[in-house]
């Protein structure tokens, strides 16, 4: 029972299951097309841009389940108070904006992470230095606000923010 290549009339001798992102995808290809397919990706084992696209698609699918259009639109507009990224930006580019996104988008990210990894808790190495203090994420927000103040030519506020940044940085050392 010979199966035909999905891209030409030759016999499919390669049956590839693509596991990058989303659901496993079955591909049936001849030798030439399998070769072409397998070598079209980048140096990284998982091509990052196709990965991000697959991820974005997965988020979109997941969100479409059991939510109305208004609810989706509302969710899309939610933004991170620290870095300012919107949920819409995240799901269209597949990349997050700052460490705090894992906290503020937790209800949406949790099922996604579980879907990707089949697990939701880190096992393994931890840094010896204590991380995750609120001051650190505060620095991200302060720098962003300073940049915005400069763009709006509010130099008084910008200089206040700069002092605050310096103080926080000192405390963190």
């Amino acid at each position: 029972m010979a199966m035909k290549c999905q891209k030409c009339d030759k016999q499919a001798t390669f049956h590839i299951t693509e596991l990058t992102g989303g659901k496993p995808q079955e591909l049936h290809l001849c030798e030439d097309h399998a070769r072409e397919y397998l070598t079209s990706s980048g140096a990284e084992p998982t091509n990052t841009s196709s990965m991000a696209a697959a991820l974005a698609q997965q988020v979109a699918q997941q969100m479409a389940v059991g939510q109305t259009a208004e609810e989706l639109a509302e969710l899309d507009q939610q933004s991170c108070p620290v870095c300012g990224i919107t949920f819409y930006q995240f799901r269209s580019q597949g990349r997050l904006g700052c460490p705090h996104d894992y906290v503020c988008f937790q209800p949406q990210l949790e099922p996604l992470i579980l879907n990707i990894h089949g697990e939701s808790e880190h096992k393994g190495k931890s840094p010896r230095r204590a991380a995750g203090s609120a001051k650190r994420t505060q620095l991200i927000r302060l720098r962003r606000e300073m940049k915005e103040a400069i763009e709006e030519e509010d130099y008084e506020r910008a200089s206040q923010l700069r002092d605050q940044i310096r103080e926080t940085e000192k405390e963190e050392l």
Partner: protein
Amino acid sequence: MELNDLARRSGEWLRGSGPEADIVISSRIRLARNLADYPFITQASEQDRTQIEDILRERILGIEASGEMLYVDVEELEGVDRQFLVERHLISREHAESQGARSVAIDCGERFSLMVNEEDHLRVQVIASGFDLGSVWQQVNRLDDLIEEKVTYAFHDRLGYLTACPTNVGTGMRVSVMLHLPALVITRQIEKVFRSLQKISLAVRGLYGEGSQAMGDFYQISNQITLGRSEQDLIQQIGDIVPVIIDYERQARDFLIKESHENLHDRVSRAYGILRTAQTISSEETMHLLSSVRMGVNLGLIPDLGIPAINQLFIHTQPAHLQKLSGVELDTADRNIERARYLRRHLNKENGGGPAEKN
């Protein structure tokens, strides 16, 4: 040390030594890390990027690394030099092609490379020739510790190391082993490999190429999952499956030798003949033929030619390397001529019996 010094050498992963080096080209582990007090790259302002770069450069150059280190500003590099680093596996294609402050630190043995401001703030990579994940993990773990002494990484108590893409969260670790599997391709059994890997969520990818060209039967196996398993577990998973694939490949080679020795010998000899005499040759055809020759050398069908020399030809005949080695910019047609000349010169020299090339 300068970038141009690298071109003439061949780097750690082409040494062609280490365990199982006839089939396993290289073992590689990379860790993705981000500074806790800066946004990820997509939300970073130009100033953020510059500051991240400053902080990490200072820290990286402060490490007492064995030997000399080359710190390269990728943004300032010319296109051919960026491509050169990609061909060398020292930076990713994404790192070469993106915009803004970014860099890479490379030790002179080309065992490790640290990319700054790639998809994450820092990507620490260690690579070794052959099948040697244990020592690679030791080295990359140590580098990670040394850098962490003076910077604070983004880390979440439950989710582990935080990364720009949720697919890397947790350990932030990607373990990859690159294998040369020509006999499994010839005997059309490579699907068996894919099926066995599919069940345990490992990814298989071909070696990068210029565009989408075929790249000499090289396959890279790596973990997909980064969360919920320790680094040791992830390494062991790959460490357990690679010997199985090596075994399949050896069986396929044995089969070819026993059952179709003439065909195999013919294939290898023709490939060798073309590479030693062609006047113009594409990168694609070169890879394809070198793959047969490499297997032929491993099976004792071509005497007087070493695996390190063949490994080096795979890299030195790629577009940016050819241009760096010849010292001039070449278009595709000129590259094909230069590539053929390079191959004739090296293959006819390596094999003492061949006619000397006068050029």
